[in-house]
Structure formats: structure tokens, C-alpha cells
């Protein structure tokens, strides 16, 4: 069967064909659809789950692999930072059955806070790395990765990037080969990484490096394609596709699919056969550094940028100094940054928050990061998953000393709170902090496209699940009941009252906003608990004086046409935030 598939769908297919039985992940662009595909199409053969975070996902998959079943863990690049702890030591102990970690990097930061080059993780952990360059390879490399994992008793790093994950190309399917369950045998010296055991493990890692290097230099995954000998190009991943197009049929290529350890002898032989050697790689000079260190001269980052996403234009410009002609216009488009949706339950809370003076708002990773944008400007910092609550705690401790008029409010989504906000809140409760933690519970993982989480009542595979009781969890950690405020964020008076109380308290407070994401397909429980009937706001043109206060909520359903404010009936959901801010009572809600 031949089908047009994204790299993510193909990687999932590859895992299926490889006989994987267990998969765990935390959703993150551009990796999310791998597990969604497994849960959707291969649920009869593969058990798959959303873990609360990437470290848990990797650890669960480690357990599955040590127990003897082929296991997969998937995450975006920054997720590997969270999972780095188990990964590093798992590189020492090794595995019983095959284990693959998919790292989906995001060059160009389409939907990420940084563009770190995760190839260095493979080098750091001293584990093998495969880099598919299209969907067919994403599928085909997966069974190879599992074979190598079992051959060398090692986790395998499977590095994809946005354009491999989210571009579609034609894939020819294979069949699933059931991987035999490998009987678990208790082996303390192999799996208990105490100092005494880890020292011999460490030596095994170096022995494995030698075997892996020998393989790298002899595998067809790293294959030269000789054409003209004037120019030779070494490349890997999607960068190979750009290079292949720019350098054309004249150049020779060494396309690398197995990139850690680097096949230095294969590269040396290739380099000797060409006059001029280019290394075309996206982001950092990972390959170039190692090629140069081996004493092989090449042209790389002196002409290919090490920042941002690569494409044919940037390769062509760097190598030939040429740009294609194109259509041009002198008229400039206005910016179109992403925004909180019309009816987004975060808007009401951020509007209330934006009215406060002397408040630092530490933010987190999710749709609600958009609360930083014009016109609300309601977030001061965003670093990583979970950092809102812990960095807010640190900030408030300093403000208590030196700027007592300053208060700190931390905002974090439900999924992000479960991911890594819980320990941060424990820090505040334990260490007597006074900042305000706001859990924006929209009952789903929003930004990545609506994945279930431990608070949403369902699992990845659609089974009902217990919901984390957030107030009870906060109380169990030491937040007092009277300092926990649960509000409907679409009602500004509730937000204001909760903020008044929380900011005045000397003890740590938690505000939980509860309303489902406006784009979420409501669950049965959502429909029972919330009035989700269709409503619509309308401007009364007689009463409206076009003061623009409503526009200040940043709702994309509101706009001014010829100086008159209107509400787009197609996008308005009747959340009523604009109605509440209007000083003239000029907005009414139909459907009530």
C-alpha cells in the first residue's frame, strides 16, 4: 500500500511494523501526532498513553523495555531536557527489549520557546542516533532502530524535525513483524545503577561506541551517491532534501541516516573523491565539528546559517550567493501574530489581571502564553514548562525583601500544572511563599490540539479515567482551603474578587479558573458541568459610543469598521467578556 503520510504518521506506522507493544509520550509540537496515530490506528496491537510529562513517559517506556516488550517514547525537543535524567543513565544500563526515543526538534521555532539542536543529546548520552529525511525513512528506520537497540542493548535516539514530522510524502507500507517478548531475567548488576555497578557499565558504553562506529562506517544508512566529482555534499535529515535540490544532479552526495557515532571513515573516503566538500546541516555544526576534528576540510557554517530553519533559498544563497526572482509589492501586510481565540476562557482572566498595578505575572507554556500579547500584555516571563509557579516564588521572595509593593501572580494551564507545576507549588507551600498560583483549567491540553490529560477524565485511548482533584491536591500539599478560589474566568467579577483576596493574603493562594477550551469538543462531563449552549453578543448601535474599551479585550471577534464597533457573528461565542467591560451597556447577549 502506498499512501501520502506525514513523518509522524509514518514513524507510528514504523513502530507498529517493528512490533512495538508500549508507547508513552507527552504531547508537544511537532511530535504529538505519533501517539495519536498509534492510539487511533494501531490500538489493537500497541498500548499507548499520555504521560503527565516527558520524564515519566521515558521512565514508563524504560520499564516496559526492561520487562521485555519493545517500547517507544516521543516528545518535542525541549521535552528531552525534562527526560534527560533517565535517558543518561539508561544509556548505561541498557535494555532488554528495544527502546526508541523520538526527539522532534523545531528549527525556526514554529511552536517552541527555543530551537536547541538535540543531536548533541545522542553524543552526550553516547547512544546511537538515526535521522530520517522524509516519511518513507521515518517508517523504514523505525524497525532498524529497534534491531540496533536490541543488538547493542541501548536506547536509540530517533531525531526528527518539524519538516520531517509535518510534511507529507509517499510511503510504501510493510507488514508488522511481532517482536518476540524477551523473558525478563532479574539481573541486579545490569539494571541497578549504583556506583559499584555503574563503573563497569561505563566501560561497556565505550566498548559499545566502538561497535557503533564500526557499524556507522559500514551501513547502507550512510551511503554515498557519486555523480560529478567537483562538488561533494554531506547532509542528513530534511537538510539533505534541500541540498539535493540546490546542488542538483551534478554533485555527489553522502547522505547520512545514522549520525551518531559519525561515520568518519566513510566521510574520509568520500572527501578524498571530491574536490570541494560541503556539509549542509540545519542548526548547529554538529557534523562539521566532528568532520573537522578528524582533520577533514569542509565548508559548512561559514555559508550555511546556524540559526533558524533551513530551506532551499538559504542553502542556495549561502553556496551560490543567488536568490530566485519573485513577485513583489510595495504594499506591506500588517502583522498577524497568533491570538487567544474568540471565546477563549483565558481572555477574561487575563483581562482582569491586566488591570492590576504592581503585579509581576510569571507565565508558562501553552495557549495562554498569548496573554503576553497586545492589548493585554498580561505576562512578564515565560521560560519552560512549570517555571511560572517556581520562578514566581523566587521573584516574590526577592520582592518581599526589596520591593514590598510588588506582588507576583503565576499563571499555568491544567496540563502544564500536571506536567511540572505540582512540585513548584509544593515548593511555595513548603517554603512559606506568598505568591499567587493561578491554574487555568480548560479541561484539555489546548495548544497541541486537544490531548487528554490527568484532569480531563479520559485517557489517550479513550477510556474513562479519574480526574485529578486540583483543590484537594493543593490542600494536600499545604495550601489552606480558604486560600483556594475557584472561578468562572468568563465572569470578571469572580476573577476580581479572587485576585483581591489572593493578593491580600499573607499566605500562598491558588486560583483555579474552570471553563472548557472554546475549541474543545465537550465531553459528557463538560456538558453536565458547564452551560455550553450557543450564545452571541451584539452591539446596540444606538447605545455604542465607539469608545473601544471592548476592543481592549483583544477578542478577534470584535472589530471597528468605519469607526463603528461590530461583532463578527461567525466567530463570537457569546462568552460575554466584552459585554462586562462595556461602560455604556451597549453590548447585549442573545441566547440568554
Amino acid at each position: 500500500m502506498k499512501l501520502l503520510m506525514t513523518g509522524n504518521e509514518a514513524a507510528a506506522r514504523g513502530a507498529y511494523e517493528a512490533g512495538v507493544v508500549f508507547a508513552s509520550a507527552y504531547p508537544g509540537t511537532p511530535s504529538t501526532e505519533i501517539l495519536e496515530t498509534l492510539a487511533g490506528q494501531h490500538r489493537d496491537k500497541i498500548y499507548s498513553e499520555w504521560a503527565p510529562n516527558e520524564k515519566v513517559a521515558v521512565e514508563a517506556a524504560i520499564g516496559a523495555a526492561i520487562a521485555g516488550g519493545r517500547a517507544l517514547a516521543c516528545m518535542k525537543h525541549v521535552g528531552v531536557n525534562v527526560a534527560a535524567d533517565p535517558l543518561m543513565t539508561f544509556g548505561y544500563t541498557g535494555t532488554t527489549a528495544g527502546f526508541v526515543l523520538v526527539s522532534a526538534d523545531d528549527p525556526g521555532m514554529h511552536s517552541s520557546q527555543n530551537e536547541q539542536d538535540n543531536r548533541y543529546y545522542a553524543k552526550f548520552a553516547k547512544i546511537p542516533m538515526l535521522e530520517p529525511s522524509n516519511s518513507q525513512e521515518a517508517k523504514d528506520f523505525m524497525p532498524i532502530a529497534y534491531e540496533l537497540s536490541e543488538k547493542w542493548n541501548t536506547p536509540v535516539f530517533f531525531r526528527m524535525t518539524t519538516r520531517v514530522c509535518h510534511s507529507k510524502s509517499i510511503v510504501e507500507w510493510g507488514e508488522r513483524t511481532e517482536a518476540e517478548h524477551i523473558k525478563y531475567v532479574k539481573d541486579i548488576k545490569r539494571y541497578v545503577a549504583t556506583p559499584a555497578h555503574a563503573k563497569p557499565m561505563r566501560e561497556k558504553v565505550e566498548e559499545r561506541m566502538k561497535l557503533m562506529t564500526e557499524f556507522a562506517n559500514n551501513t547502507d544508512l550512510n551511503k554515498p551517491e557519486y555523480n560529478g566529482r567537483e562538488i561533494g555534499v554531506i547532509s542528513a535529515g530534511v537538510a539533505y532534501q534541500y541540498a539535493r535540490e540546490v546542488f542538483g544532479e551534478e554533485a555527489s552526495y553522502l547522505k547520512l541516516g545514522f549520525t551518531h557515532p559519525m561515520p568518519i571513515e566513510t566521510i574520509r573516503a568520500f572527501a578524498e573523491k571530491v574536490d570541494k566538500l560541503y556539509v549542509v546541516e540545519e542548526l548547529e555544526p554538529y557534523m562539521e565539528e566532528q568532520i573537522r576534528a578528524a582533520g577533514i576540510d569542509c565548508i559548512g557554517k561559514s555559508v550555511i546559517p546556524n540559526m533558524g530553519e533551513l530551506d532551499t533559498d538559504r542553502v542556495r544563497l549561502g553556496v551560490y550567493g543567488k536568490e530566485n526572482p519573485s513577485l513583489k509589492s510595495d504594499i506591506k501586510a500588517a502583522d498577524r501574530p497568533p491570538t487567544l481565540c474568540a471565546g477563549c476562557p483565558h481572555r477574561g482572566f487575563f483581562y482582569s489581571l491586566s488591570r492590576r498595578k504592581n503585579v509581576m505575572v510569571t507565565g508558562d507554556i501553552g495557549c495562554y502564553t498569548l496573554g503576553n500579547a497586545e492589548p493585554l500584555f498580561a505576562i512578564d516571563t515565560t521560560i519552560c514548562m512549570g517555571a511560572s509557579i517556581s520562578s514566581g516564588h523566587g521573584a516574590s521572595k526577592v520582592f518581599e525583601r526589596s520591593e514590598p509593593e510588588m506582588k507576583v501572580v503565576s499563571v499555568i494551564g491544567d496540563s502544564t500544572f500536571f506536567h511540572s507545576g505540582v512540585t513548584s507549588l509544593m515548593d511555595i507551600a513548603y517554603n512559606g511563599g506568598s505568591s499567587v498560583a493561578v491554574i487555568l483549567d480548560n479541561r484539555i491540553t489546548g495548544m497541541t490540539g486537544h490531548q487528554q490529560n490527568p484532569g480531563s477524565g479520559y485517557t489517550l485511548m479513550g477510556d474513562p479515567a479519574p480526574e485529578v482533584d486540583i483543590p484537594a491536591l493543593c490542600m494536600a500539599m499545604g495550601i489552606k482551603k480558604e486560600n483556594i478560589h475557584i472561578v468562572n474566568p468568563n465572569i470578571l467579577a469572580e476573577n476580581d474578587a479572587a485576585l483581591d483576596a489572593a493578593l491580600a493574603a499573607k499566605e500562598p493562594s491558588v486560583i483555579i479558573t474552570k471553563w472548557p477550551c472554546v475549541l474543545k469538543k465537550p465531553s459528557r462531563e463538560d456538558r453536565e458541568r458547564f452551560d455550553l449552549s450557543k450564545k452571541q453578543c451584539k452591539v446596540d448601535p444606538e447605545a455604542c459610543v465607539n469608545c473601544g474599551t471592548c476592543i481592549g479585550t483583544g477578542c478577534p471577534a470584535l472589530f471597528a469598521r468605519d469607526g463603528k464597533v461590530e461583532i463578527d457573528s461567525g466567530s463570537c461565542t457569546g462568552c460575554g467578556v466584552c459585554q462586562q467591560v462595556c461602560p455604556f451597556g451597549a453590548i447585549e447577549k442573545a441566547g440568554e
Binding site: T32, H110, S111, S169, Y242, D313, A334, R336, P337, G570
Partner: protein, 191 residues
């Protein structure tokens, strides 16, 4: 690479460029072409500017379209034509939906919605302009605007003679096949 055709669909997150691209690429694969398609997920979808890109020919390497390479660009929103113009060949065709979605800086009054877009572009290359939103609304469902635009795009590409009814039916929600086929035909007839 002269035999590769490049089609760019640009618009605003939520307008349905991905479904339109999916139908088009299904058709191109059945016609025997090598096809690559790229789309945008995640944060950029939240009301931001989005593009999906389709490349087809005998053998396609890069999954994304380079500067000055698009043969046809269909703009689901008028201003997006300007943002992605750099990717269109100097003699590339434009299909523009005469439909405005003001972006955040326009909504808050910081920037104006640019004027004279159609006139400016029409003076430079072949431009087909029509109101896909009105057509979709007349058909009874504003959400079919993307399929109306797909119809116009297929006409501009000159590949009307394919089994479109089938490709549409394969990719849209059950029960909505007829409506979408109607929308597609209306789009073809509109330019």
C-alpha cells in the same frame, strides 16, 4: 527541477487550508505524481498566518516551496497575498478570496488594513479575484469556503479533468459530501 509544480495555499489559522490541501494532494498522488506537502501545526494555528504547500512532479526533494517558486498561490484571506508574495514566480498566478480578516494590530487600531491590494497585484500578474465567502454562504454553509477556494485553485491549475467528486468525498465528513462537491463546482465556475 523545472518539471516540479509548486502550489501555495495561504490564509489564517482555522480557515481550512489543510483540508483543501489534503484533497488536492490525494488527487495528485492518484495521478501518479511524486507529491510532498507541508503544513503548520501548533501555536501558529491560533489565528496566525498559515500556509500549506504542495509540490508535485516526477521526483520531489524539498517538502517546502522556495522563494519565487510557486506557480499558483491561492489566498484564503486577501492581505495574506502580500505576506507570501515573495514565494511566487514573477509570472505566477494568484487566486484571491476577496475576504478580510483583520489581524490583532488592525483590531486595536495600530495598523490599517492595507488598501489597493487587488489593483496592485493585478497590474503585475494574472490575478483571479472573487468572493468565496459569499458563495459558501449562499450554498448554506460558510464553512465550505475552503472547498469553494479549492475549486477555483483547481481551475487555475488547469487540472479540472480529474475525479474530484471522489477525492472530495474521500476526505470530507460523512453526510457533507454533496454540499462540498457543490461548493467545489461553484468555486470552479467563479473564476
Amino acid at each position: 527541477m523545472a518539471d516540479i509544480k509548486n502550489i501555495l495555499l495561504v490564509g489564517v489559522g482555522g480557515q481550512g487550508t489543510i483540508l483543501a490541501s489534503k484533497i488536492l494532494s490525494t488527487a495528485l498522488v492518484s495521478a501518479g505524481y511524486d507529491v510532498k506537502m507541508s503544513e503548520v501545526h501548533g501555536m501558529a494555528q491560533r489565528g496566525g498566518s498559515v500556509t500549506t504547500q504542495i509540490r508535485y512532479g516526477e521526483k520531489v526533494y524539498s517538502p517546502i516551496i522556495g522563494r519565487g517558486e510557486a506557480d499558483v498561490m491561492v489566498c484564503f484571506e486577501k492581505m495574506e497575498a502580500l505576506r507570501w508574495l515573495d514565494f511566487v514566480k514573477p509570472d505566477g498566478k494568484l487566486v484571491i478570496n476577496d475576504y478580510e480578516i483583520p489581524s490583532a494590530p488592525i483590531l486595536v487600531g495600530k495598523e490599517p488594513y492595507p488598501e489597493g491590494i487587488i489593483e496592485d497585484l493585478s497590474a503585475k500578474t494574472e490575478v483571479s479575484v472573487f468572493k468565496a465567502a459569499d458563495i459558501a454562504r449562499e450554498l448554506g454553509n460558510p464553512k465550505t469556503m475552503n472547498i469553494v477556494l479549492l475549486g477555483a485553485l483547481v481551475k487555475a491549475m488547469g487540472i479540472e479533468d480529474m475525479d474530484w467528486d471522489n477525492f472530495i468525498s474521500m476526505n470530507v465528513k460523512k453526510g457533507f459530501e454533496e454540499l462540498n462537491i457543490k461548493a467545489f463546482r461553484a468555486g470552479m465556475a467563479a473564476i
